[in-house]
Amino acid sequence: MYAKFPKGAAHRTDPGAAAEVLYDAVVVGGGISGALVALRLSEAGRKVLLLEAGPAEDLTLRGYERYLDRFYSAISKDNQAPYPAVANAPMPRGTDARRITPGAPDASSYIVQSGPFATDTTYTRVLGGTTMHWEGKALRMLPEDFRMRTLYGEGADWPLTYEDLAPYYSEAEREIGVSADVEDQAYLGIGFDEDYVFPMKGLPLSYLDRTVAKDVDGMPVDLDGEHRELRVRPFPQGRNGIPNPAYDGGRGYVPRGAVSAYQVEVGERCQGNNNCVPICPVQAKYNAGKTLALALQSGRVDLVAQAVAHKVHVDESTGRVTEIEYRRYDRPDSPGHTTMRARGRLFVLAANAVENPRLMLASGLRGSSGLMGRNFMDHAYLLAWALLPEVAGTFRGTICTGGITDLRGGRFRSRQAAFTVDIHNDGWGWARGAPMTDLIGLVDSGGRYGESLRQGLVDRVSRQLQLAFMVEVPADPSNRVTVSPDFTDELGNMRPVLSYNVPEYTMRGVAYARQLSRRIFARLGAEDHTAYDPEFWGYAVHDGEGYEIRGGNHLAGTHVMGREPSTSVVDADQRCWDHENLYMVGGGSMPTVGTSNVTLTLAALCLRSVRAMLAQLDSETAPIEVTTGRDQAATTSGETAP
């Protein structure tokens, strides 16, 4: 199935005309959160204005292929390699990270880093947002992730339980198109409705996964008096696989392929290309463009691109948001812009966990709880790498198909952080730049060429095993996003300033992860090549041991949800306690980040919040019954829609 963008979707809405309209909702950000909210509101008949900071000229397949061309020709194949750098809506890049000297913030790139710990965490500011470069792992959180404070005395409790969110997880799995098998994913309390199946069947484990599984499956681990046996398990993925005919009570599921302004049929099934990150060549991987195309087809969603939100205006007496002031730049390569305003009944900030608080703080809205921008979370990644005793087919398959999830939960979490372990099908790519570094080594130092070079490469890269430990980071109020008038971008918007340190709790998990990696490598008979460079920008020392810590681009926690206005920024519906018609949606609302990649959870949260938005729109615009006489009843709208 293909979904078409309406012709000229990005440009047909004249910002001047849009300024005259009172929309039901103004949504800031065209990533997965904004796309889902816009789609659902428009399906309910509501009129939505979507503001996207990026140029959004990529609504045709050809536009998407320009991303691919840029990626293919780029020397650095990092997360942002395919996407145009636009100074008017800058984005962080993994290659930006520098070691931070204490007391001297690193302002050399978009995110100003105050440290003490440097991070390479990124997000993508183009239409479709970070789902353009995401890997597609779509893990549900564990029930215990929602009750961390009660169960383990660490982190925070959510105002929601797993059971509250479960139906929205199912809905998000439909929207994203998740491939997985329930029997692989029901563990550590993750529950599914009876008869539930994922939209598509699970994607197969790679040969490398199966090679690792041969020795690792059944490996005993005793931790805090709990005995468990490890198992290599496939990950649920937002990539198209074989539709499950049993889905939706036997009605089946139709995968959504590539989107474009004209009819195309491609991307309905993953082909096993190995560059899901930073871009799927065929759009078999979900990106929010697929949802946006549907939203824009409704005719009730207007999209204004090149529109960077500048200030949220609030009525001082009521606290309600009155408008969002944005700067619309004329050209991506010049700072010339027009200041515009967007008016709506509801406002939805769907920018992400850095840009949402950045905009609020730049608008002088610090929140009555003082928590706006605080409790920034991400995952801390520890990599460990080794050479297997035999060729294991590394570099075949997509980037990651399987891993170890048995240490995501358990009593040990009262002391140390939990983690998920990824087996990387791209070998030592993340840790040491394989296979390019291997190629350069064989040519420059080995003097190899021709057949001998080809064989040398096979010998070297096909035995590579890299484990990536995705370690949870608990909320800490001193990890925070702030702004400062000293740091602005081309359009005069204040840039985010990040203060971040990896908590001790996380470092205890990191240290344990390294120990476990040694045991796993020993069991596999693999040669451990892991060595952490003290000069690395993310080098962190714990108990005398040093580690390289990387960011996970799993941004969370900067406008946490809670039950009380004094301890949270938004309520369980992601509505701001301070501003009754303002919703801040996305990872920023999450009180804990757990050990799952955040996209599926934040998508479920958005789908759940739409219900509250619609109820609020209904109640605030409900017909009011005015009885004027015994047999006369007139209804009138509370406020007339434009």
Partner: protein, 373 residues
Amino acid sequence: MIASTIENRDDLVSYLNAAMSLEHATIPPYLTAYYSIHSGTNSDAAHIIRVTAVEEMLHLTLAANVLNAIGGKPDLTRPGFVPSYPAYLPDGEDDFTVDLRPFSPEAVETFCKIERPGKAPSADSRLVETPDSRTHFLVSSPTAEKMRFYSIGEFYEEIIEGLEKVAANDPALFHGDPARQVGPEYFYSGGGAITVVTDLQSAQQALRFIAGQGEGLDSGIYDADGELAHYYRFRQLQLGRYYQVGDRPDAPSGPSLSISWDEVHKVKVSVRLADYPAGSELARVARDFNADYGAFLALLTKAFDGRPDLLQEGVCEMFRLRDGFNRLVCNPLPGSGGLHAGPTFEIPAGAGPDPGVSPDAGATDETARTVTR
């Protein structure tokens, strides 16, 4: 109206074997044009050709499902299954052949002719006489000697009517093992879906879909699912614009598309192994391609012989064929005035599947009476 050429199940088997051969015969020309395009260029054209080729693979599978449903045994390895290019195609004219061509206005012209809506002026002109001089027809009647069809659409109409007629006299016509059917989970990246064939209705549905997706027979430029028929997809390349809903056939009004005819490897038209310098590395690669292609057809034969799961393995093999294509088309062919090499699709004998006992000997006998040479 002339008499039906389908009298019994054996006639149906012959026709369905011919249908599989016909559907397959369009794929090498599409793939040759597709892979001749310089990587990263001509995106619009590449996608249009690609999706059409993929949908021809769907048609091939649907024809196999119908054949399996009536107890036949598809065999893509029999001699003559792959035509010798150039091959003639009946569209009411006798003066054009289907060649293996690089992407070019001539290639697009041929694709339009292959997919052109072709309803015979009247029912009795569905079959027309074959001129004696022509032998390489893609669609001739397997049962009526020296006759061929006015168009591919008419060919399928004959089978659809024949199925009804034979089924009326033979209640057990659809006795094929359901486990031999290829299910919808094996097709993707194109329009339409696989129909599992178990009875007359599903058989006719499958064949109507093939005819409709190619030519848009009776249903205008879009089919019932809102998909553009193949003919009109190619017309977009000639007219320079995409169609959108509501357009007249001669005036697409969608976004413009761009074509650069020069960003193409100029592959020698319908190149043969004999054109390759004997003993050259290039000749070896061309022969390897043909052997790989033969092995791929053998794999498909096994898949259609009760092992549909083998189609997943087929995906990897198709990537292998892609690599083979790319190896050939980027090389000039010595002695051909700068024209490039390309696959010849001369499939060596012996690339067939493991010898096995046919579940239906009658069917294999029929298939020997091939239609393409």
